[in-house]
């Protein structure tokens, strides 16, 4: 019955951001973890309770130390007080017998003759009457667990020779100490409770934003909604608010990349749908309506072209996916001059076929550290791109400026507007969305590929354009130390 009640209260509060200490404790000790085991409950205690626990222990230790110190001090003080009372009582009586009182201020006083016979006064029960004289200092005698302090002083009255003895039972001494002890205990307990509860409340308040942070983070995880943000505590610049800000900026960058990813997959799906639509339409028409072999051949030609286009696209996509997952590539010193010559050679025929004049200006003996096949692909992609957009000439240059090696691919095509220049390195970006020349037009992946290769080489890729005249693509590599 009790456990049921407990569970209920736990459930009803588990969702509330401000769960009580009790339910948190209950959760830590009586509920199972994700794997269904009872793990070490101390590991699962909320931070606020842990902190409260630790400083309560610390507080308790401090209080104990303080109590011991105070008690010790009180005892010492009491002791000296008692000694002076005892001495002054005895000396007072000895000086003037008329001031003699058998019992005053907790001190029992007795007058002895020189022979040691008690004449007047009282001694406390249990005090051994045959105790040695102690005229110079206070002596201590213990009989059956009762301690007595006593002191003797000669009577200065010329008419009477004898001693005055004062006895003080130790039990009366510790009474004050006992009161002290009890008040310390009570005060300490109150102090500890107030400290623990107040501290817990303060810590909970202080850690509140962290709980909010956790809740937002888990909400985002559950709903997959990256547009959510954590509300940082207003106008504060403490650790928690800076944590919230860090968290938010991380979310923003995550959201950004997820939006770009979505855009990319939507673009890819669009690019793939068009050739599939042609293939499907051609074959659908063909199986029902084609009458002549010529018509069928034309239809197959279309299907073939579209599937080639799709193959090219899929290959490029896979290349890019591989490159995206690569953080570093194998690099070794290579002759960039040689590489450029080779690439230029392989494009001579293609350019001749298309009546494009290919001019090269390659500085010899320039080398850098890089990956040969990737760099070849990058330069090749730039030339492919130039062939697509050039009017009738392409120039290929390799120059060294200071300690940088620059590859320049320039065409004399229509140029690219300033707005578009910023976007050309994006995936699937095409200046003109027209696909009327589908065999000629690229997929918009070529330059993105170049961009990624260049990034893996710690180099920069830039483009400049004079609309109507020319466009230059520049790859800027650090030179290898020869």
């Amino acid at each position: 019955m009790f456990s049921k009640l407990k569970k209920k209260s736990n459930q009803s509060k588990s969702d509330a951001p401000h769960q009580t200490a009790y339910s948190a404790l209950y959760k830590a000790f009586f509920s199972k973890d994700e794997k269904g085991n009872y793990s070490n409950p101390f590991k699962r205690l909320p931070l606020s309770i842990k902190i409260t626990g630790w400083y309560s222990i610390f507080l308790l230790l401090m209080l104990l130390m303080l109590s011991v110190f105070i008690l010790q001090f009180t005892q010492l003080w009491e002791d000296s007080e008692m000694r002076s009372t005892l001495q002054s009582r005895v000396i007072n009586s000895a000086d003037n017998l008329s001031r003699f009182r058998p019992f005053q201020d907790g001190v029992f006083t007795v007058i002895y003759t020189e022979n040691g016979v008690a004449v007047k006064g009282a001694i406390p029960d249990g005090f051994p009457p045959e105790s040695m004289l102690s005229p110079h200092h206070i002596s201590e005698v213990t009989v059956r667990n009762s301690t007595f302090y006593y002191y003797d002083s000669p009577i200065s009255d010329p008419a009477f020779h004898g001693w005055v003895r004062g006895v003080l039972p130790a039990t009366s001494v510790s009474r004050t100490t006992n009161i002290m002890l009890i008040s310390l205990l009570l005060g300490g307990m109150t102090f500890l409770i107030v400290g623990a509860v107040g501290g817990y409340w303060l810590i909970k308040r202080g850690l509140g934003p962290i709980r909010l942070l956790t809740k937002t983070a888990s909400d985002i995880g559950k709903e997959q909604d990256l547009s959510k943000r954590i509300k940082p505590p207003i106008e504060t610049y403490d650790e928690i608010s800076s944590l919230a800000r860090t968290f938010n900026s991380m979310l923003a960058s995550l959201e950004n990349s997820s939006v770009r990813e979505k855009q990319f997959s939507s673009d890819v799906s669009h690019e793939l749908r068009t050739p599939i639509a042609v293939i499907q339409a051609e074959s659908d028409y063909g199986r029902s309506y084609i009458a002549s072999i010529e018509e069928a051949k034309e239809s197959f030609e279309h299907i073939f072209q579209q599937s080639r286009f799709m193959t090219a696209m899929v290959t490029q996509l896979l290349d890019i996916a591989r490159l995206d997952n690569m953080e570093s590539i194998k690099k070794e010193p290579l002759s960039m001059s040689q590489l450029m010559e080779d690439v230029a050679k392989s494009y001579v025929r293609i350019c001749e076929d298309k009546n494009i004049k290919l001019t090269t200006n390659i500085e010899p003996n320039l080398s850098l550290i890089g990956n040969l096949p990737f760099l070849k692909r990058a330069v090749g992609n730039l030339i492919d791109n130039a062939i697509k957009f050039t009017n009738d000439s392409i120039s290929l240059q390799l120059v060294k400026e200071d300690d940088r090696i620059k590859v320049l691919v320039t065409d004399n095509g229509a140029g690219i507007s300033q707005d578009d220049l910023n976007k050309i390195w994006d995936r699937l970006y095409q200046v003109d969305p027209s696909r009327t020349k589908s065999s000629e037009q690229g997929l918009g992946l070529g330059l993105y590929f170049v961009h990624n290769i260049v990034k893996l080489h710690n180099a920069k890729a830039t483009a400049t354009s004079i609309p109507g005249e020319s466009t230059s693509f520049i790859l800027d590599f650090p030179a290898a130390d020869a």
Binding site: S269, R273, Y285, P433, S434, T436, S438
Partner: protein, 226 residues
């Protein structure tokens, strides 16, 4: 039925046109948005099949212009854009239907018929005008129980005339609606077709269904049953 097909991918444009012509539809093809607007301003169509991503002017913009001018021609968007917000945009701008590439021809054709049915306020694909019943999907025309044998063009002409019962149609209107945009017409082309059509409609001793209105054009006349 006359269709305007706007699609920038040449191969796809050709094959869709071929397939629609099998349905005896008259198809005008154009390859970008600006061209589509020109066609729509000069000729009238039963249905427009429109791509979205095109050079010069995209399909959404074309439809926006079209609707701003008060043109109510049904538009079917045929596009690779499959996102919900694209579909919503298409419908909100005044599109009547949306089909995502790749598509099945049968579905495209069925949707085109559905659009034309809706814009003509017909309950089904049979068009009844007096003694004449025309089924556009099966390309059959029946006159008082006799099945007519018609060429594709004759069928299209009869369909256009019969869907405008008792309305006088000029030769230009007929040309716009039945013949393709870039058709090289000669002066008495329509007259020749009308003559042939009248001959074929002569099977039953019906009163003259297609009448000549001197100086204006032709009319499909059906006596009102009082």
């Amino acid at each position: 039925m006359k269709i305007l097909l706007v699609e920038d991918e040449e191969m796809l444009n050709n094959i869709i046109a071929k397939r629609l012509r099998v349905e005896a539809m008259t198809v005008d093809c154009c390859y970008n948005g600006e061209q589509a607007l020109d066609y729509l301003n000069t000729s009238s169509y039963d249905v427009v099949v429109m791509d979205v991503m095109m050079p010069k002017m995209d399909g959404f913009t074309v439809v926006k212009h079209l609707r701003n001018e008060g043109n109510k021609t049904p538009v079917l968007f045929l596009t690779a854009k499959d996102a919900l917000q694209d579909k919503l945009k298409g419908f909100n701008l005044g599109g009547d239907d949306y089909l995502v590439k790749p598509f099945e021809f049968e579905e495209l054709v069925a949707r085109i018929y559905a659009l034309s049915r809706r814009s003509n306020n017909h309950a089904h694909n049979d068009l009844v005008a007096g003694p004449l019943t025309i089924n556009s999907q099966s390309h059959t025309a029946t006159l008082a129980g006799h099945k007519l044998t018609l060429t594709a063009k004759e069928f299209a002409l009869l369909y256009y005339l019969a869907s405008n019962v008792n309305i006088v149609l000029s030769r230009q209107q007929i040309l716009d609606h039945v013949w393709e945009y870039d058709y090289e017409s000669y002066s008495n082309l329509i007259d020749v077709y009308i003559k042939d059509l009248r001959k074929k409609l002569d099977v039953a001793n019906e009163s003259k269904l297609i009448q000549t209105v001197r100086g204006v054009g032709y009319v499909f006349k059906v006596e009102e049953e009082e």
